[in-house]
Amino acid sequence: MCLAIPGKIIAITAQLDETFRTGKVSFGGIHKEVNLCMVTDAQVGDYVLVHVGVAISKVDEEEAMKVFSYLKEMGEVAELEPSDQ
């Protein structure tokens, strides 16, 4: 039930006040109206994580790439560590 899906903000649709900022978010081409009041720095073009109609986090694009180089970096660190043998 904690399912949350990343989507791209394609338009800000309403900004009455802080509690009522909404946007149109594209999930692979499917558009949905999403409440943006909990991601105040998110702008059009940003990816946000959406759960039950509310965006709860903005994707950190730099961090999102780290998993792909993680094992390589772990290997390099291991080589620097003194060996037990």
């Binding site: 990343p6 509690t19 692979g28 409440n35 109609g53 950190d60 961090e63 094992l71 772990m74």
Partner: protein, 367 residues
């Protein structure tokens, strides 16, 4: 889809599996907290790929599974009130109550609407000023901000016909309940990534320290889960017990402060009865005094007796990681998704339903 499909890359999955095999020297038992993680692990066949020394057990992180029978009875009671629309997330409808499920109540004429978001229920209340609209607000910390926001919005719109039946549950007290059980055999946790997106990581440091148990905040896709498992095993092999963050693309140490403030605006922490685990002190959210006119329990003056749980269902042992679904004599026989004896067979995120739908014959027979 961007930020999803990259984390399902088969080559990277194989690389992580190889590395996990390389670093594992002792038997370890890891528990993933969230039902979404359980679903992904079983559906993607990850349990069959892990080295035999690593046992994954499946935690209590499925709100459908842990919501008590009495709360289902309360929801059914509300749905059967005249001039009332009960709104719910879809997965709650088939959970058996002591008299009936919400689906049975709906079949008998109750006005029950399945909604994607509590904010839609507020709109519904605005459209039906002559009816009472109640949202069945279940979920973990991930869902609490949206449910709280619905109350804040209803207050701002001066909607007197909106209320919520809050049955929120919290992860850290459940982890402690599991770790302090005498029979506990869990060596490390994969914490629930989306719960931590909201709450951050601070609550987990004292838990890791007190029980000397590594906790890795982990995402939901195959590569996320394998990286989380790798990080946890690496700590265990080194004898460490730190809180680490695998899900850095969404989770910050301090969490989402705006979401936390919204929760604290509307909710207060209280005791909660979990299906299968019993009463856990300070493990749930209830609507606070300030917003009490939006609390359906008070508004409708509900007094439902605490219902007995079905003794044929061993969901408590399953959610504590003491037993696997196929160790239940009723699994796949008397208890199936079409005729569930207990909640873990109802929700697709329940461990029993995940095994029933996706687990291979091998992993079922190995147990």
């Amino acid at each position: 889809m961007k930020y999803l499909s990259e984390y399902r890359d088969p080559e990277l999955v194989e690389e992580f599996i190889r590395e996990i095999k390389r670093i594992t020297t002792k038997p370890w038992t890891l528990m993933e907290i969230c039902g979404g993680q359980t679903h992904s692990l079983v559906k993607n066949g990850i349990l069959d790929m892990l080295p035999a020394k690593i046992t994954m057990v499946h935690g209590p992180g499925c709100p459908v599974c842990v919501t008590s029978v009495s709360v289902i009875d309360e929801a059914v009671y509300l749905a059967e009130q005249p001039n009332t629309i009960l709104c719910s997330f879809g997965d709650m409808l088939r959970v058996p109550g002591s008299r009936k499920s919400l689906l049975e109540a709906k079949a008998q004429g109750a006005d029950i609407r399945i909604l994607y978001s509590p904010l839609e229920a507020v709109i519904l209340a605005g459209q039906h000023p002559d009816k009472q609209v109640v949202f069945f607000a279940v979920g973990f910390e991930t869902t609490a901000p949206a449910n709280a926001l619905s109350v804040v919005q209803a207050a701002q719109y001066h909607l007197d016909n909106y209320s919520i039946l809050a049955s929120h549950v919290l992860v850290p007290p459940a982890m402690e309940a599991i770790l302090s059980d005498e029979a506990n055999k869990i060596d490390a946790f994969l914490a629930a990534g989306h719960v931590c997106t909201i709450m951050g990581m601070e609550e987990y440091y004292p838990v890791a320290e007190k029980y000397k148990c590594p906790i890795v905040v982990t995402g939901f896709e195959p590569v996320d889960l394998l990286q989380g498992i790798f990080m946890a095993v690496q700590q265990l092999e080194k004898g460490e017990y730190k809180v680490e963050n695998q899900y850095t693309r969404y989770v910050h140490r301090e969490g989402n402060r705006i979401a936390q403030n919204t929760i604290h605006e509307v909710f207060e922490t209280g005791d909660r009865i979990w299906r299968g685990l019993g009463n856990i002190p300070l493990s749930g959210y209830e609507v606070n005094d300030r917003y009490k006119k939006y609390n359906a329990r008070l508004k409708f003056n509900i007094h439902i007796p605490i219902a007995k749980e079905d003794t044929e269902c061993i969901s408590g042992d399953i959610m504590k990681g003491l037993k696997k679904p196929m160790q239940c004599v009723n699994f796949g026989k008397k208890c199936k998704p079409e005729h569930p004896l207990g909640a873990p067979m109802v929700s697709s995120e329940g461990a029993c339903a995940a095994y029933y739908h996706y687990a291979s014959a091998d992993s079922i027979s190995i147990g």
